[in-house]
């Protein structure tokens, strides 16, 4: 009687150890399978299709009217957006962290708005404001500033969509910063600007760089807002993502994949550098 119960006990305890091991491994398998199937697989198929026939598809894609122009335009507008939002993003982060003023929380919330608004709606808003049906749009056109169906519109759209990135990258770093160094500088006679330039800026530079690179990578692939605002005029306002879309719609998936792979390589490289930067900074921190 006692021995039978004992035998049951032993069986149970053996299986509980194996059960724990099984659980451990099935969790890991689930995580790995999820990421491999959902992320690695799609990326792989694009690269594979794009270069399955060597560089032939890429050359054909680049021969497509306006293709090279589209890639250059994408790179140029993305760089501009990164530069401009690096400056303004840092300024906004600084103002939000260091100053107290009525409406500060509202301003902070506003900065996060592009995270919640569909990019397409951003494009529609820009057309609503600067398009031919609006008085502002017409006035600007009269003065010679074309926003909608022009490159300026693309830049504007990118600025809106990527607005939060630099702010969110710089804010936490600024919050962590110990004000003692700045106070010391101030007691030694440094002006506000000098203190900022020599004490604060070096400390937040990696964060600004990381945020700017994120803006760049994001802008490379931006579709929803650009497709509405730019008018997609070949040779003038056609960007690479829209080009990929057009190639795909015309049943030229291999060429689309080739251009997509190039774009992917650039933005992936950028994201890699960014994560390396943020990790290096975390390693340096005491």
């Amino acid at each position: 009687m006692a021995s039978a119960a004992h035998a049951v006990e032993r069986r149970w305890s053996l299986s509980s150890r194996t059960a724990a091991r099984l659980r451990h491994w099935s969790l890991r398998t689930a995580a790995v399978a999820y990421l491999l199937l959902m992320i690695a697989l799609p990326a792989a198929v694009v690269i594979h299709k794009g270069f399955a026939r060597g560089l032939g598809d890429l050359r054909a894609a680049l021969a497509y009217p306006g293709a090279t122009g589209a890639i250059w335009l994408t790179l140029a507008t993305s760089t501009a957006a990164a530069a401009i939002n690096a400056v303004f993003g840092t300024l906004i982060a600084f103002v939000l962290v260091r100053f107290r003023f009525p409406g500060r929380r509202l301003l902070g919330a506003l900065v996060d708005l592009p995270l919640a608004i569909p990019t397409l709606v951003t494009g529609v808003m820009l057309v609503a404001l600067y398009g031919p049906n609006s008085p502002i749009g017409r006035t600007l056109e009269g003065v010679g500033i074309q926003v909608v169906f022009a490159q300026l519109g693309i830049l504007l759209a990118l600025l809106v969509v990527t607005l939060p990135f630099v702010v969110r990258a710089v804010q936490p770093v600024l919050l962590e910063l110990d004000p003692v160094e700045e106070e010391a500088a101030r007691t030694l006679g440094a002006s506000g600007w000098t203190t900022f330039r020599r004490i604060v800026l070096p400390a937040i530079r990696p964060a600004i760089a990381a945020g700017a690179l994120l803006v760049f990578a994001r802008s490379l692939g931006e579709f929803g807002s650009v497709v509405i605002v730019s008018g997609n005029i070949t040779g003038r306002t056609l960007t690479a993502p829209v080009l990929i879309f057009q190639l795909a719609s015309q049943f030229k998936p291999e060429q689309a994949a080739a251009v997509a792979s190039v774009l992917f390589a650039i933005s992936f490289g950028t994201v890699l550098i960014t994560t390396r930067l943020t990790r290096a900074r975390k390693a340096e921190a005491p």
């Binding site: 689930a30 992320i39 694009v46 609503a128 607005l163 692939g221 829209v242 990929i244 998936p253 994949a257």
Partner: protein
């Protein structure tokens, strides 16, 4: 006499410095407000103005049409499925990445960031390349009569892809911060693995998790590039709210486009409010 004048001069200089300080601050804040006004407030105002041009009452017209209603319905379903899947798997991935040690962990961690580096149209393209005619998996599904491309499944798949990082990236740091001690304690008190997770771990990560859910929900609702490529834009069947707006703009039905866009903007602002509130809750937790 001269001593008094010297002191007065010092005070004047300090007041000027303080005054200059305030002026500089005011200027900086104004610049920020102007920048945000130009980029966000003005366009928001623009769409409100355009949408109400045919009259406030006309705003409700598009919503009587069945294809608009269906579009919102489809958006909601896709967003729901996406959030459910990315939350469940997101927690598992975050757990494995933080609590397990194994070779290739860094690589897997890097994989989570990949969706940020891909244009949504590329994601849609990948889906077509996998499930469309000539694709790797086309045979398998076609033989069983399951339609992936130009149907709901592909739209859900691409939306999941672009939403994956949000939950994971928000839960990871919280898991790392709370450590394993409470979970160890729960186990010594007799709690099974599931009991430990639901009674101890989940309450500890809840704000970070909800924040991630809000972000991924907003992203899922707003998706356009990828679904545009895979949906085929079949009215009344594979058209989400964003796709409806796209088609309406193409067909110059601007009134309907603005009305629906304004609605989506309103929904986004509600989600934004939730995001801000959860962010606040999460920082409050960190400080505790």
């Amino acid at each position: 006499m001269s001593a008094g004048a010297g002191v007065r001069r010092k005070h004047d200089r300090a007041r000027m410095r303080r005054g200059r300080g305030v002026a500089v601050r005011g200027a900086l804040v104004t610049v920020c407000v102007l920048y945000l006004a130009v980029l966000l407030l003005a366009p928001l105002g623009g769409i409100v103005w355009q949408a109400r041009k045919p009259g406030w009452s006309a705003l409700g017209d598009p919503f009587t049409r069945s294809d608009v209603v269906h579009a919102f319905w489809l958006t909601a379903i896709i967003a729901l499925i996406t959030v459910a899947v990315t939350t469940a798997f997101g927690v598992i991935v975050a757990w494995v990445l933080i609590r397990h040690r194994f070779r290739g962990r860094a690589l897997l961690n890097g994989l989570v960031d990949l969706p940020f580096a891909l244009s949504p149209v590329t994601v849609g393209l990948a889906c077509v390349l996998l499930f469309g005619r000539g694709g790797w998996f086309h045979e398998f599904f076609a033989a069983r009569g399951i339609q992936i491309i130009f149907a709901l499944p592909s739209m859900v798949l691409v939306t999941i892809f672009i939403s994956i990082p949000f939950t994971i990236r928000e839960v990871q740091p919280v898991l790392e911060e709370i450590g394993t001690e409470e979970e160890d304690a729960a186990r010594t008190l007799g709690a099974s693995v599931l009991q430990t997770f639901f009674r101890v771990t989940l309450p500890n990560i809840r704000w970070g998790l909800l924040y991630g859910i809000a972000l991924s929900a907003a992203r899922a609702i707003g998706e356009i590039g990828a679904v545009l490529v895979v949906s085929g834009l079949i009215q009344g069947r594979t058209e989400t709210a964003t796709l409806y707006i796209y088609r309406a703009m193409e067909e110059r039905k601007t009134a309907s486009a603005y009305a629906v866009a304004l609605t989506l903007a309103g929904v986004s602002i509600l989600i934004l409010a939730a995001i801000e509130w959860l962010k606040h809750k999460r920082t409050r937790e960190d400080e505790a």
